[in-house]
């Protein structure tokens, strides 16, 4: 019977290897899944890991989808490190998109490019406001932030629906539930002509650096993490737990709101009921697969984006259900959490040791 034994110290090798093993397991499960669905596994896998990289268009699309995942994932990492469980980034993302759209719709033909900055700031403010509700209720009423933030997602969806079916509906839109197409001055600048990848991707990469600096070089970020790791030590040091709660929620709400603003003023160009695409929830996986570390999150956001695109390709070219994307994302998180066990534990294949155990056994391979 194999059993787990605590390692004397966490294994550094497995800390690095665990995400790779998890990815390998995910691929293995994928092969089995394709085979069961009656498709050629090699072709199925190539949809996820080869086809998306064909040509500049594919790579641009990976960056487009990675942008919101990266921004939201970074904010969530700050939250989770502070032991604040914001599950409602999706709602904050929607509010960011709504606020940014509100600004974008004010533009006229003569409006200057400054409006891009204004709508992005509006997006940040919208996300922050939605997260501030969570912070306020937790701070004042001691309401559980998991429930409150999650339920506010549905409130945000209703708000979005009311706007696009009601006051913000495009009068010339053939009664479709959508706003006007935003005017050109509001468009997020594209990085390469003809490709959808936009300035938001650069901002997301800058946010990686900013998040790293905040967490590892500023006392506010340090204090926030101490509060998450050891609340008694934070009280002893005199770091305010209220400040940590508010900072964490405002940062992650702001980041999610910014992602929403980039999305509506970038690839979408208008507000529709299809703005919430699940990025706010997928970013939870991004944050954990990236080990709540900004650089790790940059990579995991790209990987998750790959899964989105692979899922779409598998749907259009192989006729597989699009929900395969979600299956892959779930498999990855699941196997990563399982593999992480090996960082702190090792597997022993013998239950009880004879009294004269061989000294070499500790080093022997299972």
């Amino acid at each position: 019977m194999p059993r787990l034994e605590t390692r004397p110290a966490p294994s550094r090798a497995f800390a690095v290897a665990s995400p790779l093993i998890a990815l390998a397991l995910t691929v293995a499960c994928g092969i089995a899944l394709f085979a069961l669905l009656g498709k050629d596994p090699a072709r199925g896998l190539s949809m996820f890991f080869v086809e998306p990289f064909r040509g500049a268009y594919g790579i641009s699309e990976i960056a487009v989808k990675a942008t919101p995942l990266m921004l939201i994932g970074l904010g969530l990492a700050v939250c989770f490190r502070a032991n604040v469980w914001n599950i409602g980034a999706e709602g904050q993302y929607i509010l960011g998109a709504i606020a940014a759209s509100g600004v974008a719709m004010q533009a006229g033909p003569g409006t200057g490019r400054w409006i891009v900055v204004a709508l992005l700031l509006a997006g940040v403010a919208g996300g922050m406001a939605w997260a501030a509700l969570v912070a306020f209720l937790r701070d004042r009423m001691n309401a559980n932030e998991v429930l409150v933030s999650l339920m506010l997602v549905y409130v945000a969806e209703q708000l979005l629906g009311w706007l696009v079916y009601g006051p913000w509906k495009d009068p010339q839109g053939y009664n479709f539930p959508q706003t006007i197409t935003f005017l050109d001055p509001t468009k997020i600048p594209r990085l390469v002509a003809g490709l959808r990848v936009h300035a938001g991707f650069v901002v997301a990469l800058l946010a990686v650096a900013a998040c790293w600096l905040f967490l590892f070089r500023f006392r506010a970020g340090f204090a926030l993490q101490v509060g998450g790791l050891a609340p008694a030590a934070a009280r002893y040091a005199g770091f305010s737990s209220r400040a940590a709660l508010w900072t964490a929620l405002l940062v992650s709400g702001g980041a999610a709101g910014l992602a929403g603003a980039f999305e509506v003023a970038g690839p979408l160009g208008q507000l529709t009921p299809y703005v919430p695409a699940g990025y706010g929830f997928a970013a939870i996986i991004v944050a954990y697969v990236g080990r709540l570390h900004p650089v790790g999150i940059a990579f995991s956001a790209l990987l998750m984006s790959l899964f989105y695109i692979g899922g779409e390709l598998a749907q259009s070219r192989l006729g597989l259900p699009k929900s395969l994307t979600g299956v892959f994302q779930g498999l990855l998180l699941f196997s990563l959490l399982a593999c992480d066990t090996l960082i702190h534990y090792r597997v022993r294949w013998r239950a009880a040791l004879p009294s004269r155990a061989a000294p070499a056994q500790a080093g022997s391979r299972p």
Binding site: R219, A220, L229, A352, A357
Partner: protein, 508 residues
């Protein structure tokens, strides 16, 4: 036939050889001391006997028969019970539920509760079975552990530093209990570094140093000095307690009263004392009598006190948070090192940032190399055994982490220092060093308040003593005029001017 015999037990860890061919024999009814500094391998050896750790080499004979003790359950089946120094209690469960977990499943909880109450009475171990463990102080938790071990009616009882949290009056009854258990045939392995205790209680003594046996002696025939030489290879440094004239009051507490913050806490009532510059005031008392609450009010972790109730160099600070008190020169070293004094998963360098501001530049920018240099300087100055500034706090032994934390606060140059249990679970050498540092701080002009359950320690370093009992603080007494008997009496709440509810306290 021996109750327990160990033959050439060895255990290696990646970085250290914890036990190196250790042999030991315990006869039925024998109280056998295992003496050694922290890191000498005592704990590993006990865990091997208790089945929590498997040896790499060597044989274990239980009542003449070779056994492989694969788990603590198996050890308990054989009749071995253990009281750990670091407790293994579930915080969210009550004392009774914790004890229940270790017993046969067929016994109802109500029975367990009754037996705990009975055991508490018989052995003078004051335990309320209904209280959740997270509300218990360190001393109370240890009493739960002792009761739990005794309930299993063991034939070999392992005790790790059991007296460290008992009043002097309670030590003798415990010894009587242990002698009684031994007379009934139970063998006892008694781990301690208190040489006097070993000499009065134990029949036999095995001394460990660096994982090896350095001596097997009859403790009654030894002196403290000779035991100490076997244990640390030298005699412990002597402390010099120079006479000093105290200066102006530094910490003044007047009429401090606080309702308990949770329902198992202690109400503080009408507390008054002062600590002056260039003096050490000791607060004696059994844990769970308001020490935690008083310390939180002094440190600023609890800011509910009236502003005037606590004055720091004349300024009312009752409502100030810890950082503002630190800015006025008050530093605090808590009893819990991991999780309060230090963040377990963070490095020593990062842990300096909890109370030190030198590595923090304007706008809160952390100068990482400064923090690492500070940690390195503390490691060097206070002789901390650690992997370096990047070593996580949790990787240090209790004694070394305590040296680091004491060093972190003393190195800050505090004008007033409050310290709780400065040497709890710390080995002789490190304890002497920490006490020496506290004395040096006092000689340099700082006011020091020491809260400790170790009376020997208080008598060794303090200029004056007060006693805390049931949330009240006694008048102070010059150490020279105090005796352990008198302080012990006060610990039960009876001092000259009895508080209004003294009758109730005395009867409890």
């Amino acid at each position: 036939m021996h109750r327990l015999e160990l033959q050439d037990i060895s255990k290696r860890y990646p970085a250290v050889r914890a036990n190196d061919r250790v042999s030991l024999r315990v006869a039925p009814g024998e109280i056998h001391a295992v003496l050694g500094e922290n890191g000498a391998g005592k704990s590993t050896l006990m865990k091997i006997i208790y089945g929590a750790v498997q040896p790499d080499e060597g044989r274990i004979l239980w009542e003449g028969r070779e056994v492989a003790i694969a788990s603590p359950q198996e050890a308990r089946r054989l009749g071995i019970s253990m009281v750990y120094q670091h407790f293994s209690l579930f915080e969210a469960l009550t004392a009774a539920e914790n004890v229940w977990l270790g017993l046969e499943k067929s016994i109802p909880l109500a029975d367990v509760t009754r037996r705990i109450a009975e055991m508490s009475r018989v052995y003078g171990l004051d335990v309320d079975p209904q209280r959740p463990v997270h509300t218990l102080s360190v001393g109370e938790r240890q009493r739960v552990e002792i009761v739990r071990a005794l309930l299993a009616r063991p034939r070999l009882l392992i005790l790790d530093e059991p007296t460290s949290v008992l009043t002097p009056q309670a030590v003798e009854p415990l010894f009587a209990t242990l002698r009684q258990l031994a007379a009934e045939g139970c063998s006892i392995l008694y781990i301690s570094h208190k040489l006097d205790e070993i000499r009065t209680l134990c029949h036999h003594c095995t001394v460990l140093r660096g994982g090896r046996v350095t001596g097997e002696v009859d403790p009654a025939a030894e002196t403290n000095a000779s035991l100490s030489r076997l244990m640390i290879g030298a005699e412990p440094p002597q402390l010099r307690h120079a006479a000093a004239t105290p200066g102006a009051p530094a910490i003044e507490v007047r009429g401090l009263g606080l309702a308990r913050a949770d329902r198992f806490g202690v109400d503080l009532a009408d507390i008054a004392f002062e600590v002056r510059e260039r003096e050490i005031l000791g607060v004696a008392g059994v844990s769970g009598n308001g020490q935690q609450e008083l310390l939180a009010a002094l440190s600023g972790e609890d800011t509910r006190a009236a502003p005037e109730a606590i004055r720091l160099f004349g300024h009312p600070v009752g409502r100030h948070p810890p950082r503002r008190r630190r800015a006025r020169g008050l530093h605090f070293i808590p009893e819990e090192r991991l999780g309060r004094g230090a963040v377990p998963a963070l490095s020593l360098a990062q842990n300096t940032l909890l109370t030190r501001t030198e590595p923090v530049a304007r706008h809160g920018w952390i100068r990482v190399t400064r923090a690492a240099e500070l940690a390195q300087a503390l490691i060097r100055r206070f002789n901390v055994k650690a992997g370096g500034p990047d070593a996580p706090a949790e990787s240090l032994s209790g004694g070394n982490l305590q040296k680091f934390l004491v060093g972190r606060e003393i190195d800050a140059g505090p004008r007033a220092l409050v310290v709780a249990q400065p040497t709890w679970g710390v080995d002789v050498g490190a304890a002497a060093q920490i006490r020496g540092e506290l004395l040096a701080l006092r000689d340099a002009g700082a006011a020091v308040l020491v809260v400790s359950e170790d009376l020997d320690e208080l008598f060794e370093i303090c200029d004056r003593l007060v006693v805390i009992a049931r949330g009240r603080v006694s008048p102070s007494l010059a150490t020279a005029a105090a005796t352990p008997e008198k302080i012990g009496e006060w610990m039960s709440g009876m001092w000259e001017t009895p508080p209004p509810d003294a009758r109730e306290v005395a009867g409890a």
